[in-house]
Symmetry: C2
Subunit: 319 residues, 2 copies
């Protein structure tokens, strides 16, 4: 693949904003939902009313989502789920669907299937979240762990961490040192190569480092808290709610939400690379103030806007 830069060749890792409004939708903004696209997997983060229509509008393949993470059981974070599940049923989904949420969601879903006289044609696997700092999902390339939010109901954030890839062996080293195929897995893990004559070729001479693993934290409804600060240190992209501009800090505290400056302060303390704000109170028509205020504290701030896709790790190049 000559001419394709290593950047462009990295696995896809991006999120698409499906909703950015807090508590109640407006005529233009939906409540919270995000699609996370990693390689060939799609994960859904919260599922507010209208999420299935948003998926269709933004051409996300609805049937490919196999894992849904619900931060907490306030309506503006889960009300689109029953509709999505009914649609999966009607469209004949056959794959398992994994749903991660605080306890209670199963009851909400099951009562509706029962009263509708329907039994889902696919299997729903409920994973109840009961503590923070736990790895709740893992595959060879990615892990997801819970973060502890500060909110009225039990609420979790989700930290998606790409796993460190193996080292890349330089092609010319293989020929030059005549490296046999059975030695390759070890070298990719970082071992030195020992020639038949006993000469040690240091790993750093024959391999190049893989790209830095990328990471994304979704921090839904929360008041300002440093409870999860250590977990998100240095991550590539932090989504943090900012329901209010900072002149409403008192209301924010009362409602266990955050302001622009609080989100930006946390981003700065955690040394994240980029901050994404969302969950704007329906009272705001113009969003410029959110970016302006947050950037005073944390310049690399961007605003969630519906339909936008945000790369995790600047197209994969964090070096």
């Amino acid at each position: 693949m000559r001419g394709v830069s290593p950047k462009a060749m990295r696995t896809k890792f991006q999120i698409t904003i499906l909703g950015s409004s807090a508590a109640t939708p407006t005529s233009l903004r939906h409540t919270t939902a995000q699609a996370l696209h990693f390689h060939n997997r799609l994960f859904l983060l919260d599922c507010a009313e209208g999420t299935q229509m948003q998926m269709r509008r933004f051409k996300l393949p609805m049937m490919k989502f196999d894992h849904i993470f619900i931060s907490h059981l306030h309506g503006d974070h889960y009300l689109g789920l029953p509709g999505l599940l009914f649609s999966y049923h009607l469209l004949g989904r056959d794959k398992d669907l994994h749903i991660f949420s605080p306890p209670g969601l199963k009851e909400i879903v099951e009562v509706q299937f029962r009263i509708s006289g329907l039994k889902p044609v696919f299997n729903i696997v409920y994973h109840e979240l009961t503590k923070a700092g736990e790895i709740i999902y893992e595959d060879p390339y990615l892990s997801v762990e819970t973060l502890e939010m500060e909110h009225r109901l039990p609420t979790y954030g989700f930290l998606f961490r790409e796993k460190t890839l193996e080292r890349n062996i330089k092609k010319e080293s293989i020929t030059r040192h005549n490296i046999p195929i059975e030695a390759i897995p070890g070298i990719k893990k970082g071992e030195d190569f020992v020639t038949p004559s006993g000469k040690v070729i240091p790993n750093s001479r024959i391999t190049i480092s893989p790209p830095n693993p990328r990471s994304y934290a979704f921090c839904g409804d929360t008041a300002y808290t440093e409870k999860f600060l250590e977990q998100i240190k240095g991550i590539d992209l932090l989504y943090h709610e900012a329901t209010f501009l900072h002149d409403k800090a008192e209301i924010a505290r009362e409602k266990t939400h955050s302001t622009t400056l609080e989100a930006a302060t946390l981003a700065r303390k955690a040394g994240v690379k980029k901050l994404l704000l969302g969950h704007y109170s329906a009272r705001y028509k113009e969003m410029e103030g959110f970016a302006r205020e947050a950037r005073e504290v944390f310049p690399n701030t961007t605003l969630a806007e519906e339909g936008d896709t945000v790369q995790v790790g600047e197209n994969g190049d964090n070096s």
Copy 2:
């Protein structure tokens, strides 16, 4: 109010289409909901996912709805209700809200308030529908009665009938016959006027007829049935679902839905003045076929399109 025609002076009676899609939404069409605006009252007919956003988009005053009628408990007809109720709660609604639906909806709503840790700040009055042909709502100007649909779950249509207004006394008759004020209520009800000398002035000479009372039937999900034919005879506007074009008549029957021709046939048999179609299967991108097919049987057919407002009784003039 000189220069204002009697037509334009009639009480408002119109519906606004908030959703027109069957079963699952598309990127452009929501599932079923309609706002009925009669005089200064707003009624909601079904409440699919996204209804509260549609109300905002079409500038319907959300807080003014006091009566919600849910035809049946398939998700595409009620899934927007919990979100609307949560919004009413958050916005501090204080008026009672009346919800009419088949049994089960109360449980669906209550489990969600309970799990959210919220107690609605307003009173919800649930009216469980258990039979057709019953008057379930009545005020001095309007009544609503249930219609029996043919569907997999217990499903009701809703017939809104304006009450017959009193007769209008001609101003010149009052002076000519010197009609005393206490005789007026009786004359307005149709009594003749008897002068002090005993002469009988027939009611028809001194009054003019009020405009014809108008009527609207909302017939949600149903297979073709004549069960409610007598009730809708001669009404001004019939909304009847037409999920499929007629080449899918077999699928329609199987799924207990109707086709264009079936809806049009019922409209013709009932001698209604106008037919409104909706509840289109998501498989259809172009809607022209629906109008074309239905008009072969019933020429005065119109198609529900989101955001459209349809007058009941052609601006009140059905004469």
